[in-house]
């Protein structure tokens, strides 16, 4: 007999984008202090229906929210990332639970002071007085021919900052469960949605259910090597795992999914079993999340390692525009498979 959560009647198929949208609506229904703000989240602001709210966000992630919750809780902002992210920090300190849409990760340098010096430090600097329950949502990632200023993930930048939680869902179920957990969390959470995932479909619980932050997801079990991947790198990693399986290589694939807090125990436990680690992350290699995980796991599980951990990162350049260059920039299934073979060859 299957458990309730696995019962098809309790699961629904939806896209990553629908999962985000449903979770926002669910959270806003559950808690009147949850508000959303950002650029174009309603669209046509101030004009009234049917123009106002017809757009519902650049990708449609906030469609329908204005209609249901009104303009006080669904606020379109001017293009003032520093201003409205700072306002969200102040609002979070003053009784609201803002979910901010900053549109693209590449735009966040505009609001870095508000995120890094204000949101991340305020609780610490005030000796624990400030509570800042806010979520900063952003679309991120390359592969859409959007060029250098619309394609960053910035995973390591956010992960480096104490005081921020950093969440990178890789599936619709993770998007839903982790977004709900992020909204319910009393800390500033950076929630990074890879654009290439928005149309991906998958099964999610019929009712949004919070998925605790700080735990890896085991997407594919295996014994020969551990592939720990960040966000959309899961796509390439699973493709590599399938290819390797055909060659008799049994890969375990982990979705790291929360970069802060990091489930080092979970990753290490897998590596202690497989003896090999490949970390896959779509950001340039220096000071990357992959570098951090490789170093941390080495400290924890050195004697169990049968090959030095390997990193599969993006190229050390801004994201290029030309499709042939962008494809070369990205971590690919071929590079993941090659890294796993290298790790195994060293046995």
């Amino acid at each position: 007999m299957s458990s309730p959560v696995e019962s098809p009647s309790n699961l629904r198929e939806k896209s990553f984008l629908e999962a985000v949208r449903d979770t926002l609506a669910h959270a806003m229904r559950a808690d009147p202090t949850v508000v959303v703000l950002g650029e174009d989240i309603a669209g046509g602001a101030g004009q009234g229906p049917p123009l106002e709210g017809a757009m519902g966000g650049t990708f449609g992630a906030t469609k329908g929210l204005l209609e249901e919750f009104g303009p006080r809780r669904v606020r379109d902002t001017p293009i003032s990332e520093a201003g409205f992210v700072g306002a969200a920090v102040g609002a979070a300190m003053s009784g609201l639970r803002p979910v901010v849409d900053v549109m693209w990760a590449s735009f966040t340098p505009y609001c870095f002071d508000q995120l890094v010096n204000q949101a991340a430090k305020m609780r610490y600097m005030s000796g624990g007085q400030a509570t800042i329950p806010m979520v900063l949502r952003m679309a991120a990632g390359a592969g859409l021919r959007a060029a250098a200023q619309h394609s960053d993930t910035f995973y390591p930048l956010f992960t480096h900052i104490p005081g921020l939680k950093v969440v990178v869902p890789a599936t619709p179920a993770e998007a839903e469960g982790l977004l709900l957990a992020a909204i319910e969390d009393d800390n500033p959470v950076v929630f990074i949605e890879h654009m290439a995932l928005y149309r991906e479909r998958g099964l999610v619980p019929a009712e949004p259910t919070s998925m605790p932050l700080g735990h890896i997801g085991v997407v594919r079990s295996g014994n020969d090597a551990t592939v720990a991947c960040v966000g959309q790198a899961l796509t390439a990693s699973l493709e590599a795992a399938t290819e390797l399986a055909a060659a008799g290589i049994d890969v375990e694939v982990l979705s790291v999914r929360t970069l802060s807090p990091l489930d080092l125990d979970g990753i290490s436990a897998s590596v202690l079993r497989t003896g090999r680690l490949v970390v896959v992350e779509e950001s340039p290699p220096r000071c990357s999340v992959a570098a951090d995980i490789a170093a941390s796991v080495t400290e924890r599980a050195f004697t169990a390692l049968r090959h030095p951990p390997l990193r599969v990162n993006a190229a050390a350049s801004p994201v290029p525009f030309s499709p042939v260059l962008e494809d070369a920039w990205l971590p690919t299934a071929a590079r993941v498979a090659s890294a796993v073979r290298t790790a195994l060859a060293g046995a």
């Binding site: 202090t33 508000v35 006080r72 809780r73 606020r75 902002t77 001017p78 003032s80 520093a82 201003g83 409205f84 992210v85 700072g86 306002a87 969200a88 920090v89 102040g90 609002a91 979070a92 300190m93 003053s94 009784g95 609201l96 803002p98 002071d113 508000q114 010096n117 204000q118 305020m122 609780r123 610490y124 600097m125 005030s126 000796g127 624990g128 007085q129 400030a130 509570t131 800042i132 329950p133 104490p162 005081g163 939680k165 969390d185 009393d186 800390n187």
Partner: protein, 318 residues
């Protein structure tokens, strides 16, 4: 402002002045870590504005935040302990002079990033408006901050959303060593309000009554739901940028002239002119503050340091 209110304002200003003069002296002894910026000469601004606020109302402050704390009702002893980095400090020694905060008094923190508190106050006002709880949010910041992008974004946001926010620019004429006359494109910072379609008012910060009246109007307007105001208070900087600043960039003549615009002297004079016996009305208060300061400094120096094992405490909630 009647004489009772003016006397109360004078007492509140003296509390700040005595505090800051004492901090300056004690800092010279060398056992206070880091560096401090005092609120000397600006007392009338915090006092004139905060006289209209309750504990529920919100303020954000600057690296020069002791005066804002005191005017908002934060007790002396925990501020002093914070300046010494002790566990008994307002922020348990994690913040120091430039980050003093007391959320129970609506004081959302001194902020050492120039302009850093402005958008936070907009957020406080956004929360107040969304929750409909009648609070207002005041941001204190300097003339230098009016050149930051965040100042302009924040005024625009507050204006388009008609938020209950008051932007109080403490213009002391100097962004550290750079004069406003060089760095600011307009004669009056309050004129920058025109760009956002909100009222901009300039007052002399040596005149606590003028600050009080202008702030009262701005705060009443915000509470009515009529939106934000930019209030520029022109301060005559009586001291250096920080305690120990030799002010090599400033003429002796300007420093001398500034001393003729002490808000405390002005309030005393105004009360004396009205026939109030000022000395008999403030001596007790002065003695009380001095006794409070004596006790606070003695306690702070004896207070426990934070436990080094707890260096990572309070990074995250929960």
């Amino acid at each position: 402002m009647d004489e009772t209110e003016l006397l109360a304002a004078l007492q509140a200003m003296l509390r700040i002045r005595l505090f800051e003069d004492r901090v300056r002296r004690e800092f010279g002894k060398g056992d206070m870590p880091g560096f401090v910026h005092t609120y000397v000469g600006a007392e009338a601004v915090a006092v004139g504005v905060c006289a209209h606020l309750t504990d529920a109302d919100l303020i954000t402050s600057t690296h020069r935040g002791h005066g804002h704390c005191l005017a908002k009702g934060v007790p002396i002893a925990p501020i002093i302990a914070e300046l010494y980095g002790r566990e008994t400090g307002l922020c348990k020694g994690r913040g120091g002079s430039m980050h003093v905060a007391d959320f129970s008094k609506g004081m959302l923190g001194a902020n050492a990033i120039v302009g850093g508190g402005i958008s936070l106050a907009v957020g406080g006002a956004l929360a107040a408006q969304t929750l409909g709880d009648g609070r207002v949010a005041v941001s204190f910041f300097g003339d230098g901050a009016s050149n930051e992008g965040i100042f302009h974004e924040s005024l625009n946001l507050a204006a388009i959303w008609r938020l209950p926010a008051i932007f109080v620019c403490e213009n002391n004429g100097w962004a550290e060593s750079t004069p406003s006359s060089y760095a600011i494109s307009v004669e009056r910072i309050a004129d920058r309000a025109d760009a956002y379609g909100i009222p901009g008012v300039t007052v002399d910060a040596a005149d606590v009554e003028a600050v009080w009246a202008a702030a009262g109007e701005a705060i009443a307007r915000a509470r009515r739901g009529d939106g934000p105001t930019l209030l520029e208070a022109r301060i005559h900087r009586l001291g250096g940028h920080y305690v120990g600043d030799p002010e090599a960039y400033r003429s002796r003549e300007e420093r001398r002239l500034a001393r003729a615009h002490d808000p405390i002297d002005a309030a005393r004079q105004r009360l004396a002119d009205s026939g109030v016996d000022v000395a008999s009305n403030i001596t007790d208060v002065e003695n009380e503050v001095v006794a409070e300061l004596d006790a606070a400094f003695a306690a702070a120096r004896e207070a426990p340091w934070p436990d080094p094992e707890e260096v990572e405490r309070d990074v995250l909630a929960g």
